[in-house]
Point group: C2
Chain length 252, copies 2
């Protein structure tokens, strides 16, 4: 994720100024003064460092968070130290939406590299959205999007083999970087192989082997955390291999 090496800091600054607003207002439907109101309740905090927690499982839910720069992983910890990585969050993306329901966080959020975060007190946001229908609408959309993304992951874990999962993961990252103005074919992974494997339901060794294979096949270059996607078309092709299910016929 950038930042690891010194990569176009200007770019990051430009892309991520007011990231919280970008995330909440895009696609934009808010009036200028509504944006100001929203801006007023956002807290900017000092940067966090690798390993810091934004919040932990079971913490009281007070705010949602937007990544400004850097990256965050969310994960469900279990007593014995094991965990399930639930997601990686890049600049502009929201964290904590799963905690609204019962007022406490369902997962932990840990910073993967030096990261700047905006905190948006949910109570204020909720109040504000009561008075600004377009903000309410935007909130519904953001929550809905989260559901859609999780459903995509369900699909990935339910139907895809190791190769397809990693290809989808890399192309997904690529898209998200692109959307935020970073290179879509040359980036740094801020998460370890282990975390990738955990996220994708695969063993570390499988991830490692796949990287080696993909590189051998000329699909990408990988050196540690540095990834260069060379043939995105072919990566796409890997994912697109539809599985025949044989279950339900097409309606004749």
């Amino acid at each position: 994720m950038s930042g690891q090496k010194n990569i176009s800091l200007e770019n990051i600054k430009i892309a991520c100024r007011n990231c919280s607003l970008v995330a909440l207002c895009l696609p934009m439907e808010l009036e200028a003064d509504d944006i100001e109101k929203l801006d007023a309740i956002v807290k900017r905090s000092r940067p966090l460092h690798r390993g810091d927690h934004l919040f932990r499982d079971d913490d009281k839910f007070l705010s949602i968070y937007v990544v400004k720069t850097g990256s965050v992983k969310t994960y469900a910890p279990s007593e014995d130290g094991g965990e399930q990585v639930l997601g990686f969050h890049l600049p502009g993306e929201l964290i904590g939406l799963d905690a609204i329901e019962d007022g406490s966080h369902q997962c932990s959020a840990k910073v993967l590299e030096t990261t700047a975060i905006c905190e948006i007190p949910f109570y204020h946001l909720e109040e504000l959205s009561s008075n600004i229908p377009s903000l309410q609408h935007q909130m519904y959309r953001l929550l809905s999007r989260e559901i859609g993304q999780d459903e995509n992951m369900l699909m990935l874990l339910g139907k895809r083999n190791a190769e397809e999962r990693l290809a989808a993961f890399l192309l997904g990252l690529s898209d998200r970087f692109k959307r935020r103005g970073f290179s879509s074919s040359d980036f740094y992974l801020s998460m370890s192989r282990h975390e990738i494997g955990n996220y994708l339901g695969l063993a570390v060794e499988t991830i490692s082997r796949l990287f080696t294979r993909f590189q051998g096949d000329g699909l990408l270059n990988v050196k540690r955390k540095h990834i260069q996607l060379l043939q995105k078309k072919r990566l796409q092709a890997i994912i697109l291999q539809e599985k025949i299910d044989g279950n339900e016929r097409q309606y004749p």
Copy 2:
């Protein structure tokens, strides 16, 4: 899911009258007259029959739906007839929340047995929630809950083996039936083995074998769609086997 055979129809009627309201208002924070307003925008439709679609992938998103009686599966179809089952929806549960984001449905919803549905036009609901803060809050909670449930599934698919998945599935159903006033240990599956397998990321044959094994171990009785859970404790125990991940140490 009940209904298959003639099981306590009275029970169903009692439990499911105004299911849409139950779903939206529980845990209840709405005033009586607000409930009436909500009630006023709900459309009750004639019952649907096995195989009917509530909506299809890419359909324009107009309403969310609440199951009153019966059951529905949502799934992401692919061109070749394959699919990924995303969820099974029992009385009182919502369908369609993932479609808010871009105004069209992300998945298809198909009725598994004779099923009664409430339709709630989303535009009206949104408008109403603008004027009733507690309804807005409830909407946020419902959307958030959906995210939490999907995250649970991610955990299941990422970390659990076949046995654990089926055990979790059955206990999950059991809980949901219980909450709605049905038996938690004796029920009918409205979905096929194939659909269960698809949902859990397993092959039909695996599901079949596991049922046989579970029955042999005295955990349950199964005859086709009829399930009797005999030893829920032991089923719980199957799920609780935490996986050592060995990744991140516990902070010393």
